[in-house]
């Protein structure tokens, strides 16, 4: 520890601490512009200059480490003159269009200008006047306002590792741009927007919609994938204006993905339903909430009396909160007396490693999943481990993913080749000697190894279990898909296999089905039997939108999205986090629906979060005494028993291997109602390799037919460099593609022009 004196206050800090951090410790604030504690020191803006007693030169606080007995002065006549000049120099070319700039009101440069008291620039002000760049669908770029702090360049390189932007030219001509001034080609994660201290990079979804001082803010958790990012929801009245990062907070450290940052618009969608619909005798009628519940209750009673409780099934979606899922379970078990609780999730795999453990791992293996697309924040953690740390990263995936840049070993090829490679890798971990022995040794010799896999692919689960068995210190991350995929399983919706529900529908065993938020037609396990649900005595569907399943329902009740309710989600690491209500769109929550139905059936169930949490703590042992905002569930097991060996080989016949692609812009349920995401990716697209496209004479945006054993479909073609020759990929969670992947995760197909 070294002792430094900052503005007369003495503090003890670790050696090599930056002056800025030492000052924070001493409770002294130093103005900064280009500094970001998550990024490497840069020292571009010179705003944080401080005086060191005995040194004639000024030091940049954000880049200079402290030394013992150092004495720092942060406020002096000289320093305020220097800071003022530094800001004045920045303002020479900075256009003073604060009234129309989206950053106005929350701009670091604006704040600094006030702080140092610049009212007039002494130099010849020459504001830049270059046209604003609108080529990117999500990011507006106005290079005139740029102060060249380099935060966007650094975050894109150090954190996201896409390196889409860089400094171009030299000296006064320097701008931030892409190589050869090409359009931005990136992951659209928007990290650059979040770190920009001025209005140079703006969110186009929020562009000009409001000003920051009008917005109210609530801290919540994103409900669009299983990462569970802490986000700020900015709203005015009952409209959500933006969803942005909570700076440096949460398991995501203030990073977000495209879906979270730009996909929130569905909350305000005009396509949302506001009235319940009851169908009787082929005619649908808009009714009030209570009337719809009454109809549902009556039908439930009738089915229970005539066909027994076993003819009733309750299906929940992983978008529900823990509290709602628990209530739905209560409704099924205690009120209706049925054990038919279904969801797309199963309790075969439980979370183990946390994101922090992934970040700090010293050997990471990714098995057959495109994490940067399916779970972008988990992807950032993997990148962090592989890049900032020195963890050797091995990735197995049919086709190159964004992890290729940081991986030490990338095994690609057709899905069958990748499967064979993964099998030999797992065998090598278990002790066999083959070409992967070297890589297996890296895993077994590591202290904190991590294996990431796709929990929805049985063959992958088997491999992960084999690896875990051979090397017990390996921590696995089952990359679950939806925001509460883990939580609903904890609440009892994972005990039964999803296929059992499909069989029940097919055989006519179920007469009444309560579907809370799920879209049966878009889930590959259920899509084939979904049409059977239309003829049921009762199909009660709750959904914010009129989904395909909701359209079939004879009782439909519109419900709220995650921004309109309180509760909690459990993310892919088993982290329970509270969500907060931001807006009210005048519709009920799923909890209200369940509670109302229970009341109609004569049993009182509370709908308030606190009361339900009390019940959960009593009845769910995993959650007894849990901290509802930040507690981590400790699971008794990772794999439930021995996973049966499955033949992961591609099924069927055909020239191409077809596998499910992950999409960073869509999960196929809520996000497809976001107009801005739909503009970029509106319908499922067939990813085709460059060589195959050339061979077949297919160009991008062509429509081709994909035909395999038992399925057929027509899709737009997207030619992708990352796809391997002989492979094609389609996203899974669309109605048009769910019918394909119900045949298996790895298929063979032909392309018919």
């Amino acid at each position: 520890m070294v002792t430094v004196k900052i503005d007369g206050k003495e503090v003890q800090v670790a050696p090599n601490t930056l002056i800025l951090d030492a000052a924070k410790e001493a409770g002294v604030s130093i103005p900064t512009l280009c500094h970001d504690s998550r990024l490497n020191p840069f020292g571009a803006c010179r705003v944080c200059l401080v005086e060191q007693v005995g040194n004639p030169k000024l030091q940049a606080a954000c880049t200079t480490p402290v030394t013992d007995k150092m004495e720092i002065v942060t406020r002096s006549e000289k320093l305020s003159r220097v800071r003022k000049t530094a800001i004045e120099l920045l303002l020479i070319n900075h256009p003073l269009d604060c009234p129309v700039c989206d950053k106005g009101g929350e701009c670091t440069l604006q704040d600094l200008t006030y702080e140092v008291g610049v009212t007039k620039v002494r130099f010849d002000a020459k504001p830049n006047d270059t046209p604003v760049d609108h080529t990117n669908p999500f990011i507006e770029r106005d290079i005139d306002r740029c102060v060249l702090c380099g935060r966007c360049v650094r975050v894109c390189d150090e954190v996201v590792n896409i390196q889409a932007i860089s400094f171009l030219n030299r000296g006064t001509d320097t701008i931030i741009g892409t190589s050869f001034e090409q359009p931005w080609n990136c992951e659209y994660c928007g990290q650059c927007i979040s770190v920009c201290p001025v209005g140079s990079l703006n969110n186009r979804i929020y562009l000009f919609k409001n000003r920051p001082w009008n917005l109210d803010r609530v801290k919540s958790v994103c409900g669009l994938c299983s990462c569970g990012c802490t986000v700020d929801i900015d709203y005015e009245g009952n409209e959500v204006f933006r969803m942005k990062e909570s700076p440096e907070e949460g398991i995501n450290h203030g990073y977000m993905c495209a879906k979270g940052r730009f996909g929130f618009e569905f909350i305000n969608s005009i396509k949302r339903e506001s009235e319940a619909v009851v169908k009787a005798g082929g005619e649908s009628k808009k009714v009030s909430f209570n009337e719809a519940v009454d109809v549902a209750v009556e039908k439930l009673k009738k089915v229970k009396d005539t066909a027994g409780a076993d003819a009733i099934a309750v299906v929940v979606s992983p978008r529900l909160t823990n509290e709602e899922a628990f209530l739905a379970g209560k409704l099924a078990k205690d009120v209706l007396g049925t054990s038919n609780l279904f969801s797309t999730e199963t309790n075969e795999v439980n979370p183990e490693a946390t994101l922090e453990e992934v970040e700090n791992s010293d050997c990471v293996t990714v098995l057959n999943i495109d994490v940067t697309e399916s779970n972008p924040i988990l992807g950032l953690a993997v990148r962090h481990a592989a890049r900032t740390g020195t963890a050797p990263l091995a990735v197995f995936y049919p086709g190159y993913t964004a992890l290729r840049r940081v991986s030490k070993k990338f095994v690609t090829g057709t899905p069958d080749e990748v499967r064979a490679a993964m099998e030999s890798y797992a065998a090598a971990v278990a002790g066999a000697s083959n070409e992967y022995s070297e890589w297996a040794a890296k895993l077994t010799n590591a202290e904190r190894p991590v294996v990431i896999f796709d929990p929805y692919n049985k063959a992958d689960v088997k491999l992960a279990q084999d690896i875990k068995k051979a090397c017990a210190k390996v921590k696995v991350v089952p990359a679950k898909a939806k925001n509460n995929s883990v939580g609903i399983v904890d609440m009892g919706f994972g005990a039964k296999c999803p296929t059992e529900f499909a069989q029940g529908l097919e055989s006519g065993k179920f007469k009444a089905v309560v579907v809370l938020g799920e879209n049966l037609s878009a889930r590959s396990v259920w899509t084939k039997s979904a049409s059977k649900a239309a003829g049921l005595e009762l199909l009660l569907v709750t959904d914010p939108f009129m989904s395909e399943t909701a359209a079939m329902a004879n009782v439909y009740i519109p419900v709220s999205t995650f921004a309109e309710k309180s509760g909690s989600f459990t993310n892919l690491e088993g982290h329970v986090q509270s969500i907060a209500k931001a807006v009210d769109k005048g519709v009920n929550t799923d909890a209200c629906v369940v509670s109302a139905i229970a009341k109609g059936l004569g049993i009182k169930l509370p709908a308030e979060v606190s009361a339900v949490r009390g019940m959960i703590e009593k009845e769910v042992p995993l959650y007894s005494g849990i901290n509802w905002d930040g507690g981590v569930v400790s699971y008794p097991y990772v794999f439930a028993g021995e996973v049966a060996a499955t033949d992961g080989k591609a099924k069927g016949k055909g020239r191409f291997f077809l596998y499910p692609a992950s999409l960073r812009l869509h999960s196929g349920s809520f996000t497809r109602w976001s107009p801005d995401l739909a503009k970029v990716y509106g319908e499922p697209m067939l990813e085709l390799s460059v060589e195959d496209a050339k061979e077949l004479g297919i160009s991008a945006k062509d429509r081709v037919k994909v035909k395999g054993e038992g399925f057929e479909g027509e899709f737009l073609v997207e030619i992708e460099k990352k796809v391997s020759k002989g492979c094609i990929a389609l996203p899974e969670d669309f109605v048009a593609t769910a019918g394909i992947f119900c045949n298996g995760k790895s298929l063979r197909a032909d392309i018919v022009k």
Partner: protein, 164 residues
């Protein structure tokens, strides 16, 4: 003795009549409202107008500063992004029944768009007429520039003040 004299000859009444008589030859100080309008000073703060560019586009950029500064919360603005990425004012409403004519909006406007005018007659038969929008505010400016004063007392010289 003097009192007796005043009492006998009603001198005070004559004095009073004298003052009245003198006023008959002076200019009147009152105005016969509503037949006649009261004069308006240059620095009077009346109904707002919003300046337009020569081609008729509004000068207002929709920065929300007037909405924020307004102590009686009478301004309501909605903006959005236009088709070419420009700032678009979807709605600009000013509720004259709430306005206290403090002039803060004029003071805060960074682009010299909103100004306090000289018109003051807001009388309407129902409340909806008090809410004026961008169209009316721009029309007010046009009227002022062209000298189409509703208040006939406004002098032509004020027009010059508007055009500055």
């Amino acid at each position: 003795m003097k009192n007796v004299f005043e009492t006998i000859f009603f001198t005070e009444i004559l004095q009073g009549l004298g003052i009245t008589l003198s006023h008959m030859f002076k200019k009147p100080v009152t105005y016969r409202y509503p037949f006649e309008a009261t004069p308006i000073q240059d620095r009077f703060r009346g109904i707002q107008y919003i300046k337009t560019h020569a081609d008729g586009r509004t000068k207002c950029v929709g920065c929300y500063l007037c909405q924020k500064v307004c102590p009686s919360e009478c301004i309501h603005i909605e903006t959005d992004c236009g088709p070419n990425g420009e700032r678009l004012i979807r709605k600009y409403e000013l509720d004259l029944s709430r306005c206290i004519y403090c002039g803060y909006c004029e003071e805060v406007c960074p682009v010299d768009a909103i100004h306090m005018g000289w018109e003051w007659n807001t009388v309407a038969s129902d409340r909806s007429g008090y809410v004026i929008n961008m169209k009316t505010l721009s029309q007010n400016y046009k009227d002022n520039v062209e000298g189409n004063w509703k208040n006939k007392h406004l002098q032509k010289k004020l027009v010059e003040g508007v055009q500055q």
